[in-house]
Structure formats: C-alpha cells, structure tokens
Symmetry: C2
Subunit: 301 residues, 2 copies
C-alpha cells in the first residue's frame, strides 16, 4: 500500500488493555478504512505507543491529522495519563490530554476516564461508548450495562454520569474456569441455556452461596457426570445471577441499554428478561465510533 | 541411616494433592518418626505412588507392615480409587481399599472419602480429621469447619456425618490475588485486622455485591492509595464473610470446632466471634494422626 491512498480527515482510536482498533474517518464522518492491532496498552511502554500507532495508521496521514483516542491508553501505565473526572459529570469528560509525539503531522487527543470516590470506582473507554449511545439517542435517561471483563452499570441522567458500579464478573469467569480445580469440569466453549437459567435463579435467590455452588460444579462432574458445557453455562449463570442481585439498585424500575460483545450481551439481556426487565441490546463498535466522533466534533467546535 | 534403626509397628500417611506426610507409629500409638515429601497425588501417576512412599518410609519397614492412608491418594487420579460413601454415614467410612504393591512386606490401606448427592459434594481426608477429633471428644455433636483451599462445613451427630458443604473460598482467594487485575493491588503477605473485619461485615450484610467489592479494591488502590496489605486482609474478609453468610444454616446455634492451618483457622474463629459464635480451634495434624490411629485400630479390631 503506498502512502495516503486513503487520506483521513481525522482518525478514531479505541485503545484498550489487549488490543487497539483504528478508523480512518472523512471530515463528514464516514469510515474510510479500519484496522486492528494486538498492541494493547499492556504490551507497550511509554515510548512504544507512537510507533505502534503509526504502524497501523501511518498510511492514512497526509498533512496535519488529529487522532482522538479513548481507553486504557490514557491510564497511568498508558501513553499519557488523562486524569479521571469525578461523578457527577458529563458522559464525555472535558480535559482531553495530548500525548507526546515526534511525527510532525500527528496530534493525539486522549479522552479522560471517569472516577467515583465512594464506592471507589473507575472507568476508561466506557464513557466514550455511553457518549456515542446518547448521541444516537438524545435525551435518553436510564441505566447502561456494559458487560465485559469488568462489567459496568452506569446511571445516566441529563447527559451526565450520576453514579456507576463495576463488577469483576467476566474476569472471575475466566479465572475460575482456567485457574481453579473447576478447569477439570468446565468446557472451553459450548452452552446449555437451561443450566444458565438455573444458575441465574440459584444465585439471585442465594447469592451468598456462590463459593459453595462453585464447588458443587466440581462435585457434579465427579458424582453425576455433568458435562463441561453444562458446567460452563451454569457457572456463567451463577456469576451473572450474583451480579444481577448486587446490581438490583441499578436496574430495578429503569430502562436499560446493554452495550458490549454480542454473545455476552445476549446473556445479560436474557437474564434481565427473566426478571421481567426489558433491555435494549446495542452494538458496541457502532457507539464507540459515535462517541469518538462526538469527541472530535467538540475539539473542532 | 541403616535400615530399620526405627521399626514401625504401623505407618500413618496423610497423602494430599500437593504433599505427603508419614509417621512411624509404635504398636501402642506413639510417634517414633515423622517425614514429609512434596510428592503429592497431583505429581504422580499410578505406578509412581509405591516408589514415592518407599522413598519416605522404606527405612521404617522390618517385616510385614500396615500403612493406613487418607486423602487424595484414594481418588480416581490417585493410587487406587477408594469409592466414596454417601451421607449419612459414620465419620470413618468402612470399605478401606488396599492399594496394589510389589514390596513383599507392605500392605497399604486407603480410607474412602464421603460424598453427598444433593447438593453434590465430596470430601477426602477431612473424614479422617473429623474421626480423630471425635476420638478425642467422644459424643461431641455440632458443626466442624475445616478451612483450606476448599473449606468444608460438616454437621456431625452421633458419630455420623449428617451433611456437609464445601466453599471454594481459599482457592478463590489465591486465584483472585494472583491471576486477576487485583494482583497489582494485593500484597503477597501482611495483614490489617480492621480491614479484615470491615470486609467481613460488608460481605455478610451484602454478599451479592462481592464482584463489585472486588473491583473496588482495585479502584481504592488507584484513587486512594490503599496499601497492598490492607487490600489483602479486606479481600480475605470479603470472601470469608460471603462464606459465613452462605454457611449460616451450618453455624447458627451450633457448637463449632475449627480444624486447619493455625493462621487461617484463627481468621475463621475471629470471624465467628464477631457473630457472637464461640468456636474451638483444633490442631489439624494432631487430629489427622488420631483419625489414622482410629482407622488402624479398626483394621486390627
């Protein structure tokens, strides 16, 4: 590819712990090109960010170009620290921070995350997705659930983040399934919807018995030959059920949007439906891009 | 050491997943010698158990010798499977199984574990400790808590195991502290009793918020500079508190004995004391040996 066969009006970047994703955008907001990289924040030291970025977007630059980035790139271990804004605050915090660069045509704006003092909590990247969702749904009030490694429940009102709470559910699932005695009992993939629903019900009714239910998965494999797929879905149901029990003050009586990976989000939507709570499932990539576009408009506005 | 400077009347063995411990016993029940090995069940295939045992106890054998063994040595992945007995059953199950041996003077008797069909649960090794505790405390009825990687709560009445429940608390603690994002926030050792007590209270009052409280430990490190020792003790309090909430049907209104590692058992005793539940702390090694001696007496009786 020769340089600047695509010339970006600006460049949108979602830079997380494990991966980086970039889009070449036209001035009018059309996606001209898209690229992904496995050079996540965790793999880079401070001097590694600019080369990692240029290896992905270098060909899109022809003259001075703004990059707008969200995610862990703005953490203390990232390219440049973009200090958290405290709730309550606008869903898109002000105070974008410029990352240090050497390329003469490159200006990188990093979007800050949001913090909450008590209960102590932090987010980076989700604020941009929420902003994108609100750009698509003006005047929306309610609760946004963002399932993932660290699932967030975010109360949004009048375009502000009022409060939020993070549950380590996704990371607990991965860690328990791969690093405990349950690794012998849980399949790497596969699903059993009835076992998921049963886990949900069990954990919502008795969330305090979680650590006992976990060991039961092992014992059921030993004594009753329970399949690894059933165990996998049941574990997911137990952990999401415990989370729903804990997050009840967030979702009870609210309108809910679920933003995240399609498959995981579907499980949350199903779990909420089992509580007679309707939830709208939202494409994560689409709102990330919309949020980055809102941030770019603010820079230019 | 020349052969049989110590001649054992019989040999007691506690053979777990990670380690093996053996005692040369006189016919009258005195400990003549003691040895430990890191050749736990998980490191051995079926043919490896006899050599691993003889490398530890070979010098104690002079003529036909009985070995009585408890623990994971009797599991499906062990030396020989000693099938579980189902509750309700005597604390010392019948049906000891002989392991296959080639040494002409060696006879190895493996004590079976105990299972419960619903809720599905299993134990191996704890039945021997409980038996030893009852040998020391005849006619004792109540609940025995055995803290560890997989903590057991066992209802004992009239020398039988009535029911039991296993909580994966210890393994969750280790896994969360070393394999999740909290590894950045939790010290490898150290303690903060106030943080432990606060974690206990928090989790007992709101066990369903566990996954959120875990992420708060990370956020408190980032935002408030919480120390790794405080985070460590708070995590322990959260997990033990959630366990106590789940195990309440076991400990409420019962007399309690706690058998296990001294430091971990002390935390459980303190946690129960905070609920105004007195508990007796019991030396684990001592009751293991007493239980193996009871098993040997039955073989000879």
């Amino acid at each position: 590819m020769t340089a600047a066969t695509i010339k970006a009006g600006w460049i949108a970047v979602d830079w997380g712990t494990s991966n980086m994703r970039a889009w070449a955008m036209s001035a009018s907001g059309t996606v001209l090109a898209e690229a992904v990289s496995d050079q996540g924040m965790a793999k880079l030291d401070r001097d590694g960010f600019e080369p990692a970025l240029l290896s992905v977007i270098g060909d899109w630059i022809d003259g001075p170009t703004d990059v707008v980035a969200c995610g862990m790139v703005g953490s203390r271990q990232g390219w440049v620290e973009a200090p958290y804004q405290a709730v309550p605050c606008p869903t898109l915090p002000s105070g974008f921070v410029q990352a240090p660069t050497t390329h003469p045509d490159l200006t990188v704006h990093v979007i800050p995350g949001i913090m909450q003092k008590d209960p102590a909590d932090v987010m980076r990247g989700e604020e941009t997705q929420i902003t994108g969702f609100l750009a698509r749904n003006p005047n929306w009030d309610g609760v946004i659930c963002l399932p993932g490694t660290h699932t967030k429940w975010v109360h949004v009102s009048a375009d502000e983040v009022v409060s939020f709470q993070t549950f380590m559910t996704g990371e607990l699932f991965d860690t328990i399934a791969t690093h405990t005695v349950l690794r012998h009992s849980i399949a790497a993939d596969g699903w059993d919807q009835a076992a998921f629903a049963d886990g949900l019900d069990t954990a919502m009714a008795r969330p305090e018995r979680l650590a006992a239910r976990l060991f039961s998965l092992r014992a059921k494999g030993l004594l009753h030959g329970q399949s690894g797929q059933t165990a996998r879905a049941h574990l997911s149901g137990l952990l999401i059920g415990a989370e729903l029990a804990g997050a009840k003050p967030y979702w009870l009586g609210q309108q809910i949007a679920v933003i995240g990976d399609h498959s995981l989000s579907s499980h949350y939507v199903a779990a909420l439906a089992a509580q007679s709570v309707p939830a709208t499932q939202v494409n994560a990539t689409s709102v990330t891009l919309a949020g980055l576009a809102t941030a770019y408009q603010r820079l230019k506005g």
